[in-house]
Symmetry: C2
Subunit: 374 residues, 2 copies
Amino acid sequence: MPSVVAAASSDVIRLAVDCMGGDHGPAVTLPACQAFLAAHPRAELLLVGLPEALAQAAPNVMNWPRCQIVAASEVVTMDDTVEVALRRKRQSSMRIAISQLKGADGAAPLAHACVSAGNTGALMAVARYLLKTLDGIDRPAIATVMPNQTGGFTTVLDLGANVDCTAEHLLQFAVMGSALVSAVDGKEEPSVGLLNIGEEVIKGNETIKRAGELLREAAAAGHMNFYGNVEGNDIFKGTTDLVVCDGFVGNVALKASEGLATMIATFIKQEFGRNWLTMLAALVALPVLKRFKRRVDHRRFNGAALLGLRGLVFKSHGSADAFAFEQALNRAYDAARNRLLDRVHDRIVDTLQAMPAGPADDAGDKATPVAHAA
Amino acid sequence: MPSVVAAASSDVIRLAVDCMGGDHGPAVTLPACQAFLAAHPRAELLLVGLPEALAQAAPNVMNWPRCQIVAASEVVTMDDTVEVALRRKRQSSMRIAISQLKGADGAAPLAHACVSAGNTGALMAVARYLLKTLDGIDRPAIATVMPNQTGGFTTVLDLGANVDCTAEHLLQFAVMGSALVSAVDGKEEPSVGLLNIGEEVIKGNETIKRAGELLREAAAAGHMNFYGNVEGNDIFKGTTDLVVCDGFVGNVALKASEGLATMIATFIKQEFGRNWLTMLAALVALPVLKRFKRRVDHRRFNGAALLGLRGLVFKSHGSADAFAFEQALNRAYDAARNRLLDRVHDRIVDTLQAMPAGPADDAGDKATPVAHAA
């Protein structure tokens, strides 16, 4: 793995930040960077963006400590197609930020991880093009955390990078997700659930059943802590540390949950805002409502990992505010500090290369394709 | 459609109730039936169950007005396999209840709709075996409603009957779902959304893209009010009256939503129960919290429709209490009163038979298979 920066936990961690991405650009990303730097005395940032835009948002940005400004001349917008991001805007802040993870001509890369709030499709495509996938991984996946009833978090992947997955892809997601949870949450053998429509092994379509078999094989060989099938509600019960699914299903589950949370928040506001009596009740209940709000505040969980690439890329929500964007920086920092890339690599060697090769897709740009044994 | 009971809205409506189904059996179903009868003076019930179990739960059940007890000698449990329900327990309350929708030897059926809280897989299999699917429908689907932010409801199907759908199946779901919304909610041309991972027509897998084409064709021909792609959050926004999806995706979205709602309720309870100050706040906020709770009370939305069969079957949650089970009876009653079966039939004729035949699956037990044009 030539492109991997192995950072010991005491080393300086350097993040490349696409300061132009997201709905608000530098107005949000720069305050977040400032707060992040204050909280992480051993962190350094490469602030990638249009210099004039950065200076406008933070006039003294040139003088910030532990920062360097890396100039870009273009911005990938939220509506730009993958094509435009990949082929036309070669000097975009997104692309230049990602390229900081690649050392030129064998030299060490400049950054340990990259964070962008830019559009997901473009970010994944550019990252995949520039960084390539790790050996043994056909397709990168997007992983995020959701709060659960135990007070902890459930990591879910894939969330939309892949809309047609084979059983082998789901196994790869489980391997990469396990590495992520072990790196960021410190659980060495996180439990893995396979998202299905019932707990029994006979449930689901053929792909899911076959994925269940592969995961049980990996567990039997001691490579994975596979719990078995889980259902949609188990994400929020916290039945397993990790929930693995097809990107289509994961995306729908994530967005349905966001929609429901928004609806419930609206209903609570409407009921407390109904008349002066209910508003008085809201005033009395305010400290409780605030604590409740904090527990379900999705901004705290911002920062999805793009897994399976030869570099650590984190994606912030496009609509993130400075607090939310700072959480994405935190997650990228923790992942780099805990050597997520090495962990993914090690788990791939342990699990995937130890297992009989199955059919994989041919869209991969990996250096060593998995053998097609279909 | 020989097996369809055409009930004018002023006619008596007779429901067959599987009184043994669900986690609680007659202890829940009978009180629900009693409340339902009191609220519907023109309704009649066939109470199907083990006579001694019914008499134990309600000693004077024999004397209830507008009721008949139909004796069964077996019960399909929540853990019984489809095989057991279909082949072994031929005298089960579930099977006998469904068979009330079939007239013997050309005679009129005894009931207009059937309600059971028994296990979904068994109910669907027995219903499909006894009733058969409607002409033009390959696979029955399960539809339910979810509350949305507009204060109304979104009807979603399929919720788990079909884990591998073709584009043609999704079109059939849209046709059946439109009939359901028009019958139960009184909207003549309900808007239809196709659940996807983005709004653009290029999003999703091949099946979804093809389904989008079929739905646009149906809309162009004036047979459907197709809105376009919707995302998971649109279910709770209320963007469309109807959301159509694969049973795997629908099941995960439904269960994830249930899990999130449960988690949020737990968090609210925990925060208000933290100490005597917060408990005091809860006391003050109690009327507001009660109104809020009522708005998101999933019991109000109990009663999923099994669509595409030659008879109206409604499925209650297995864990339903009497209030929830009564809602399922209400939904079945409304569907029968508003001639849901005729409406599904009419829409199939209008939409599906007017469209060029596409590839369908061969698992259907329909009388007139859709031509295989793959």
